[in-house]
């Protein structure tokens, strides 16, 4: 039992998975090699056709290759000196396609590396299945079906997803969470009874009821998701694809109408130059990086140990207006601890502690256990006969728990008004001083629990709530980003108000029931807002399904995980704030690179148009003083190709995110990526032109 003494629930892994000291890094060796191979495979037109901008580049490449092999098809004499130039241009266009494919393949490869790491946790193992007669049979884990019960002892792998039906044990979940500190799993708890196949029992023994058939487990679904098997385009990505198609169509028509105009003014327009002009004009940079940005967004979420069911969910995070957060575990530390007994009605502290101890006899929650510890610390022992007694679990409806003794005595503890109602229903009176004690605890931001025996109230237990460090700063950040935070709590309005004020949340709902969660979400959605929330219990499932972004805790119930569109493997509700930041970063990255892509067209006009029409008076547009028309075209095309791999790290990592308002972010992005997109190509094309001429490549 040595390992059980570790502080299981104090762990709270933070930050990216690959930056955790005790974590096995995903296998990324050979990632670049695989991506290079994949980028050649993606030259297949059946794959390229899914990306309109790059498919037009692909068509242009084919035309240029044909013009290299058979120039006479495009009105060029086979003996003309342009054949070598056509070949150079074709090579640059192929490189452009490969670089765009490489960006996507790298982003996909990182997801696949993570899937491989997950797959390694799925090693088949032997399981001890319980037989109806009470015996055991050693079976292969792949033969287990939903409903089977298995025994898993110390040092054994849990063979499949399941619920603990008996026992308490420490489980090492590092295979899926990256965090090696074991977590306590026990039967009967809503959030600690769920176990995942492939994790390791490190102490004691558990009896587990299997909840997933082979191939349907949590890790199976995670693998499908991170591999991108279920990736569909997000609404934002679809909208941007339409915009890029429209821009491409406009430039295609503009370029296609040039030959008659050029013929009229007397300038020759070789087809390959028209292809170069078209490729330079269409937004190839964002076209090449678009899918990589989306895939990398999902990967970034996965790096934070969150599995998103779709890119749509990650993207929706970027548009979130309202966060609905549970107080306990999210804003305050999960475990409220009993701090003090406040007796009322003439009872002594010892009397109150004894009744509280009796009422907590069956309470296995951290709060219940802390009440027992505080009573024992005061030297109070149980005064009630536990034989034949039964426990009453806490519920959101009754808002109380307790013990029914064999002699009919009812010991209760719970929300003050719930206990008042209970005592009155038994013909009792509410003692003087109860409301005073209630307010005293509430004003400290604590949770007051009234304690009664039969029809008599003995006093109040002060449960101390501790706000997590740094919460105020995080809510300030969210406010600057225009996100409203709403705290939901079962606490009374005074306690809720104190906690909300101290934590800095914008609004709170006190004495909330599970139905209130859905009501809050629906009210916000009726105002046209997108809502995110976290949850772990079965009663959270409807609200998780209703929210635009629902994040379930991995320690939560199966129903919660299935209703949500994201699962946090670390079971850290605070991470919702990180996820929203990643969603914002995804949208900002896409916007920034689109701005850059469209802005860097300008320099290409000044390179290619003078090259095409220099002979008919447009030579003055050669602001960069490029050496020759051919070197100007090659320089623009080389820049067009090289800018894609140059921006791959930015696309995969995301632009630096600052928690500012949308207006400030827009201004900053226009300045950095708009102005940068204008200036960088002028410098880049000129530099490439100098290199091309110094190497006599033209």
């Amino acid at each position: 039992m040595k390992s059980l003494q570790q502080p299981f629930f104090s762990r709270m892994p933070r930050g990216r998975r690959d930056q955790r000291g005790n974590n096995e890094r995903p296998q990324i060796q050979g990632l670049l090699g695989r991506a290079i191979v994949e980028s050649f495979r993606k030259l297949d037109p059946r794959i390229t056709v899914r990306n309109p901008v790059m498919f037009v580049v692909w068509c242009g490449t084919v035309v240029t290759l044909i013009a290299t092999v058979s120039p006479e098809l495009f009105g060029i004499s086979p003996d003309a000196p342009g054949r070598g130039f056509n070949a150079e241009l074709a090579a640059i266009l192929v490189a452009t396609l490969l670089f765009a494919n490489l960006a996507e393949a790298l982003a996909e490869g990182r997801g696949k590396a993570q899937a491989d790491a997950l797959r390694r946790t799925q090693a088949r193992t032997q399981a001890r299945r319980l037989l109806p007669d009470g015996g055991e049979a050693l079976v292969d884990s792949s033969s287990l079906r939903k409903g089977d019960q298995v025994l898993v002892g110390s040092g054994e792998l849990i063979p499949a997803d399941g619920e603990v039906v008996d026992g308490v044990a420490a489980v090492d979940e590092s295979a899926i969470t990256g965090e090696s500190a074991p977590v306590l799993k026990e039967a009967g708890s809503d959030v600690a009874s769920s176990v995942t196949g492939g994790t390791l029992v490190v102490s004691d023994q558990l009896t587990i009821r299997i909840t997933a058939d082979p191939g349907q487990g949590f890790i199976d679904r995670m693998i499908a998701l991170v591999e991108g098997a279920e990736r569909t385009r997000t609404p934002n990505e679809i909208a941007l694809t339409v915009l890029l198609a429209v821009l491409t169509q406009v430039f295609l028509i503009a370029v296609a109408t040039l030959p008659p105009v050029a013929a009229y003014i007397g300038g020759p327009t070789p087809v390959v130059i028209l292809v170069a002009l078209l490729v330079a004009l269409i937004p190839t940079t964002i076209g090449g990086l678009l899918s990589a940005i989306g895939i990398a967004g999902m990967d970034r979420v996965a790096q934070f140990n969150v599995i998103a069911t779709s890119g749509r969910a990650v993207e929706a995070c970027g548009d979130i207006n309202t966060l609905v957060l549970d107080k306990t575990g999210t804003i305050t530390l999960g475990n409220r601890l009993a701090e003090e007994f406040l007796p009322v009605g003439g009872h002594s502290e010892d009397d109150l502690a004894a009744v509280a101890l009796g009422a907590s006899g069956f309470d296995q929650t951290p709060e219940g256990k802390s009440i027992v510890r505080l009573a024992e610390k005061l030297g109070v022992s149980s005064r009630f006969e536990q034989a034949g007694a039964s426990g009453l679990d806490f519920s959101a409806r009754t808002r109380m728990s307790g013990t029914d003794l064999a002699d009919g005595t009812e010991l209760r503890k719970g929300a003050v008004d719930a206990i008042k109602g209970f005592v009155r229903s038994r013909g009792g009176q509410v003692p003087d001083g109860l409301d005073q004690a209630f307010e005293q605890v509430s004003r400290l931001g604590g949770t007051p629990l009234a304690v009664s025996q039969g029809a008599e109230i003995y006093g109040v237990i002060y449960l101390k709530d501790i706000i997590k460090p740094g919460m105020r700063e995080r809510f300030d950040q969210l406010r600057r980003m225009g996100i409203r935070s709403v705290m939901l709590t079962g606490d009374n309005p005074i306690t809720a108000g104190v906690i909300a004020r101290e934590a800095g949340v914008d609004d709170f709902i006190a004495e909330a029931t599970p139905e209130d969660k859905i009501a809050v979400i629906q009210a916000e959605q009726r105002l046209g807002k997108l809502v995110a929330m976290t949850g772990d219990g079965t009663n959270d499932a409807p609200a998780l399904a209703q929210a635009n972004v629902g994040v379930a805790m991995n320690s939560g119930t199966q129903a919660a995980k299935e209703a949500a569109n994201m699962v946090d493997l670390d079971s850290d509700p605070t991470k919702l704030i990180d996820i929203v930041t990643i969603g914002k970063q995804l949208l900002i990255t896409r916007g920034a690179l689109t701005t850059f892509s469209i802005a860097n067209d300008v320099a290409k006009y000044f390179a290619i148009l003078p090259a095409l029409f220099g002979g008919v008076g447009l030579g003055a547009l050669n602001l960069m003083h490029l050496q020759s028309p051919h070197s100007a075209i090659l320089s623009a095309m080389v820049f067009n190709a090289l800018i894609i791999p140059a921006l791959v790290p930015l696309a995969l990592k995301g632009v630096k995110f600052r928690p500012d308002s949308a207006e400030q972010l827009l201004k900053r992005n226009l300045l950095v990526y708009g102005l940068g997109g204008l200036v960088v190509p002028f410098v880049g094309i000129k530099a490439i032109d100098l290199v091309i001429n110094s190497l006599h490549l033209v």
């Binding site: 068509c59 035309v63 009105g75 060029i76 169509q249 296609a256």
Partner: protein
């Protein structure tokens, strides 16, 4: 069956389009330019049809 594959009949349609376009273009252009212009025209029309398809049903791409 390769006959049902779009990448079999698309080049055929392009070639057919180029041949069809070359007839009127030949009236106003020298032979070499006629070939180039007709290929350019048919490729432009084909890519435009594809791009309009993307605009109308982007989720399919």
């Amino acid at each position: 069956m390769f006959l049902t594959k779009p990448f079999f009949w698309i080049p055929l349609l392009l070639a057919g389009g180029a041949v069809a376009a070359s007839a009127p273009l030949r009236l106003f252009n020298p032979p070499l330019q006629t070939g180039a212009l007709s290929v350019l025209l048919s490729v432009t029309v084909a890519i435009s049809i594809y791009l309009f398809a993307v605009m109308v049903q982007p989720e399919k791409f």
